[in-house]
Amino acid sequence: MVRWLTVLVWGLVWALAGAEAPAQAQDRFITLASTTSTDNSGLFADILPRFQAQSGIAVRVVAVGTGQAIRLAERGDADVLLVHHKPSEEKFVAGGFGIRRYDVMYNDFVIAGPAGDPAGIKGVVRARDAFAGIARGRHLFVSRGDNSGTHKAEQSIWRASGANPAAGRGKWFREVGAGMGAALNTASGMNAYILTDRGTWTGFSNKGSLAVLVEGDPALFNQYGVIVVNPARHPHVKADEANLFVAWLTGAAGQAAIAAFRKRGRQLFTPNANPSTGN
């Protein structure tokens, strides 16, 4: 029994030491709450090491939906927030959770669907008309249903379309309540229409017979913003490091790194920060 316990205790000590070692190796770090769309694209893996090399600050990315990322930041579980739903971001700042919001970059959403296009939306100019067409024919549509930035963009297009997808819930309107990648896997599996951000779409490997059908509508514009969590509300927030990061990201070096990032030969994000005019 005693030997058993000794083995257990030593196992514990060893395992804990092993598990915690990397944490101690990076003394200076900030936690960035961000979205799956930016992380899954590989953007952070590409640009964050550059910031770390320059500043000595490691950035730990927790990639969740925009809604959940904002909740994390509101509770003080992150130092910086980088998401893509401007109204929610402005509400976050107005609520005193963040100090100031800065534009960082943009890309766009696209409507993907079965290449055969039973709803006949290929080349439709307005995203809302395409959605209306999908609803009219009751064609399968996969909705994120997870309160993410993409889900919110999807909802506003539905509102503009005049259609009522809720009526098709459980029938042609399938809310998966999952991240972009998981939703794309579902859409690919059931040959359904789906709204996706271009970054995740380009990096996604399981497209099956899905293809981009609608793109280029201004309503499909996808702006990303960055906000430092307010240290007045959460004193443990590493505001100095976080501010350094935001200054880098919205400054010349960070913006150039974003522009230089390529996935499958394509630029995925277009930098558009204007650090003098944060809003």
Binding site: M1, W4, V9, G11, G18, A19, N40, A182, N185, H236
Partner: protein, 234 residues
């Protein structure tokens, strides 16, 4: 089908290449789960044996509860631990959220009921066998707990391995409390979930195969240790 074939080839390639990042993720998975199981065993084995030996009011209710808790949904445990460790939560000042320690806590919570329940079942029968003898020696209950634990040690390996299996296979809780941060809290299961969400199904499947292989290895080692021990007892 091509995904399956591709996955096998990829798994072999990954193993052959001894990819540093993959090795780190496997090592982290093991370290976290091992620590969680060590904590769970340190609590669960004595607790399970005590449940077999001691008689107290409400004992049956505790046994039912422990057995029910074996089926705790990992996401529920993850959320609970998240709310405790969040900066806005009661233990937020510790700053443990999104660290391996948080993952260890979550897994320990999931695994402890499994070890308690299985250990109780195994030591109960043994205690029935020993009771009269132990009583005639005038053994105190805590001595009886030690005796049944020691004599059941070979079969108790199963309890610990069941716990270890649950810990390494679990994804819902560690995803919430660990955050799947690359190089810090990314383990095998969260990597598999991530690669699946990127549509890299073959890679995800290959990682799953490696997880299964390592689990087989660990169980084989545990079994052979148990076998050696049983042999020595002769």
């Amino acid at each position: 089908m091509s995904d399956m074939g591709q996955a096998f080839v990829l798994a072999l390639q990954l193993i052959a290449a001894l990819d540093a990042e993959l090795l780190e993720i496997i090592a982290r998975s093991f370290a976290v789960s091992l620590a969680a199981v060590a904590i769970a065993a340190a609590i669960g084995l004595p607790a399970g044996a005590a449940l077999a030996v001691y008689r107290f009011p409400g004992r049956r209710a505790v046994i039912v509860l422990v057995n029910a808790l074996m089926g705790l949904p990992p996401v529920f445990v993850g959320l609970l631990i998240y709310l405790f460790l969040s900066r806005a939560g009661p233990l937020g000042f510790l700053g443990l959220l999104f660290t391996p320690t948080a993952m260890i806590i979550a897994q320990a919570v999931l695994v402890t009921p499994i070890i308690v329940a299985i250990c109780h079942r195994l030591t109960r029968d043994l205690y029935e066998e020993y009771r009269d003898q132990l009583c005639s020696f005038g053994a105190r209950p805590y001595q009886a707990v030690r005796t049944v634990l020691w004599d059941a040690r070979v079969s108790l390996v199963t309890a610990v391995m069941a716990g270890f299996g649950r810990a390494t296979a679990e994804v819902g809780a560690v995803l919430i409390v660990g955050g799947n941060i690359a190089g810090l809290t990314r383990v095998m299961t969260t990597t598999i979930a991530l690669e699946t969400s990127k549509g890299n199904l073959a890679l995800a499947l290959a990682l799953g195969l490696i997880l299964v292989l390592t689990a087989i290895g660990v169980n084989a080692v545990a079994m052979s240790l148990g076998g050696v021990s049983a042999y020595r007892r002769g």
